[in-house]
Symmetry: C2
Subunit: 467 residues, 2 copies
């Protein structure tokens, strides 16, 4: 039996190539052509999805200081080495080592009645109860400033319940998150100042469901430390409804978690040396650590694998960059930023200049474009070139916005380069952020690939055109 294969594709490439030779061929055409090559390669040959599967499901959750985190360091080091980059190294970083020995429990009861268990998870960096039960009356507040109004008398020995929801009218869920997350990041520290026993926090999502979201809390350096526990949004609604009915819930909590001794960990850094302007560095990166509740497929396995794929794409296409390209797997974004700080410190000490740093840390969803920011003084000279990239990116439905970057690249700001964040579609990210649901099953292969192609295209444009 004969099989008739299509000649259509090779024929169209030939036609395109002839058109390319005969036309008034411009530099812009060449850039558009190369970006199409990047997309074609990524959408047909990229190993990004398989890599993300391995990282998130085989290695799994990668809390800073954990054995999994070091496994991820070694694995990404080897993957980058195997790509054939000019050099790859591990940068030593001392990191905090917080451990969740067992998951927190929270139950509530009214007037000594039936105990109702809530879906709960300890906040990262939180202290525990030593694993024993603590009880306290629940007081509901909607913001940090309310604590001051209430004062120590009302708060002392209570369990403070922060319940301000994310604002659903924000189009960009990151803004809704940003407008509520102070309750989680600073609630326990602030409530402790007024004598609270512990803190419950409504999970940081617009979604109403039964899944608690962890995430870092930050204590006052010399202040009291009290346990911080997130409860699911459905349970937050339930607890709030009792209080709205004039009932007086008592919460019983346990938490067994806390800080251990700092550990030695690593950033993983790969480099392709520039041929014309080796002192101008273009960085792509994400953070390798993740919370422990799942494999961190979106946060931030996707960003790390995006960044490795940028290198894989350019090497596979035989691209020789004018500028020096760095790919960085940052350690400890989630609960300390030790990796981002160590990277910038050493870079500054070496007198380096990062012309542009691009972080992907908002998930592996369809890319909508890039957000960028920099010191106001240095921003303007870059803007014209950067905006000129839009004509190459628009066919891929990518749009440039001001504002954005990433936590890990933030410390590079003082070098005066452009800080850029990939903007994936933001609607689903906080549905699964810092939960057990942040696994590979929530990642769409094409959407993940498109993010890598977008980042590669931007690196290409910055490298070719400069800023």
């Amino acid at each position: 039996m004969m099989v008739y294969t299509p000649f259509i594709r090779s024929f169209s490439i030939l036609v395109l190539f002839l058109a390319f030779l005969q036309s008034a061929y411009t530099q812009d055409d060449a850039h558009a052509f190369y970006i199409k090559k990047i997309y074609d390669h990524t959408l047909t040959k990229a190993q990004i999805y398989d890599r993300l599967y391995h990282l998130s499901e085989n290695i799994g959750g990668r809390l800073t200081g954990s054995a999994n985190a070091e496994t991820a360091v070694d694995w990404t080091y080897n993957e980058l080495k195997a790509l054939g980059v000019d050099s790859v190294w591990k940068q030593e970083v001392m990191v905090p080592h917080w451990v969740r020995r067992s998951e927190a429990t929270v139950s509530i009861s009214i007037d000594g009645g039936k105990s109702i268990p809530l879906k709960a998870t300890s906040l990262g960096n939180s202290v525990g109860t030593g694993g024993v039960e603590w009880q306290g009356e629940v007081i509901e507040v909607f913001g940090l400033d309310t604590l001051e109004l209430l004062g120590e008398e009302a708060i002392k020995d209570k369990i403070v319940f922060f319940n301000r929801p994310l604002d659903p009218t924000q189009i960009h869920t990151g803004r809704a998150y940003g407008g509520a997350v102070d309750q989680r990041s600073r609630g326990p520290a602030m409530a402790a100042r007024f004598g609270a026993k512990a803190v419950l926090v409504r999970s940081m999502t617009t979604l109403l469901d039964d899944v608690p979201h962890t995430g870092v809390t930050v204590y006052d350096e010399d202040g009291r430390k009290i346990p911080g526990i997130a409860i699911s949004t459905n349970d937050a609604e339930l607890l709030s409804s009792f209080i709205a009915q004039g009932k007086y819930p008592t919460a019983t909590i346990t938490a067994d978690c806390g800080m251990e001794e700092d550990k030695l960990s690593h950033n993983v850094i790969a480099e392709i040396r520039g041929t014309e302007f080796p002192d101008e560095i273009i960085l792509v990166g994400g953070h390798l650590d993740s919370w422990d509740l799942a494999g961190g497929a979106h946060d931030d396995g996707a960003g790390c694998m995006h960044s490795i794929q940028v290198f894989e794409n350019l090497l596979a296409l035989g691209y020789k960059p004018k500028r020096t390209l760095r790919c960085v797997m940052f350690m400890n974004e989630e609960n300390g930023l030790a990796g981002g700080n160590a990277y910038a410190n050493e870079s500054n000490a070496n007198g380096e200049f990062h012309l542009a740093a691009i972080e992907s840390d908002l998930g592996g969803f369809t890319p909508r474009g890039f957000g960028c920011s920099a010191d106001a003084e240095v921003f303007k000279p870059y803007l014209a070139n950067f905006q000129s990239f839009e004509k190459f990116l628009d066919p891929y439905d990518l749009h440039l916005k001001s504002g954005g970057g990433g936590a890990d690249i933030g410390p590079l700001k003082s070098q005066g380069g452009l800080l850029i964040g990939l903007r994936p579609d933001p609607q689903r990210y906080f549905d699964l952020h810092h939960t057990k649901n942040d696994h590979i099953g929530m990642v769409n292969k094409r959407e993940l690939e498109l993010g890598a192609a977008a980042m590669t295209s931007l690196v290409y444009l910055i490298d070719q055109i400069g800023l």
Copy 2:
């Protein structure tokens, strides 16, 4: 226990209102302000998700001519009536009535060896085998034109297997679909001309999985009709791999489906009469029928519910349109377009003019903007105003592209108005299109709401500014 509610929101509204009164208030500010109101309403009060749940899960699959389709007609009629529109009516439409009596089966064997069952589904409008087994040797082809090259000698009595994959390098999956779907829509008709016994078609998706995709096939009016059956992409790869190894698979198929007598069905139409330009109609719509394999949550429950939400939003906000607004639930997009044709025919007979028709029929994913098209002659006058809308839509990450519209509104083209299609993110749509997976579980509530807010905003702008 006291509860401290936040005053932040009402305070910000007050500040905004004062700023609004005092500032050099422009018409543009007023439009931006109203669009924000539309989004706020939709993201906090819309019933769109609950409606889509009811339509797709309680009513379920709504194949044209089925009892479910008429239930959906009655339900949407009542929903629109309950909104308090000026008028709502059912437009009679004679529709084809195809039935899948039982699902197709396909198995293959090599040289009389073990029979391997494939995941299969009959194509819409296809004839069956009368429920009995048919056998035939499989011949693999990659396009309709190959049939002519092979000729009747090679094809007669064979089971023709169309296996050209969707092109994964297309960024917009609709283009990948459009580049492959001729195999499904015309494969059986064309293969029948050369004496084929039946047709197997690779499912129309870029995804490799085990889920077969149905969809319409169109026979030659007076030609032979042979069964058309889709198989999953994984099974298409398997079958192809046998052939690539030089093996000669025999397929055994059964299919029990076919056309019954035409039936009376309905489009559902609601109207809010314009106060200034009642003869200029702005239409929003989707198609109410769906395939029978699932509840048609994305295709096109989402588009119908988007359209109803546009009306709910504007009525809830007390908006009085200058132009006449129509909301149309079209019947029979999937296998005949009887509803779209009937609507345009009656509209033309009544001398109506649709200034703009906006269809949502690409799913309930995050909206990326709108695509528009019209007769080249009439397009230009509209373009300047239409492009001026972009500044109001850009804050919502919506972008206007040329090209787009929708099947149901296509017949309105001769009226010379602008045809517009909502552009949701396209990456996941063809993963579940025409399959058992097109259910409410695949719909994200916020993404669905954002689509309705986008459509409402565009209707508002066209109504206010004109074209």
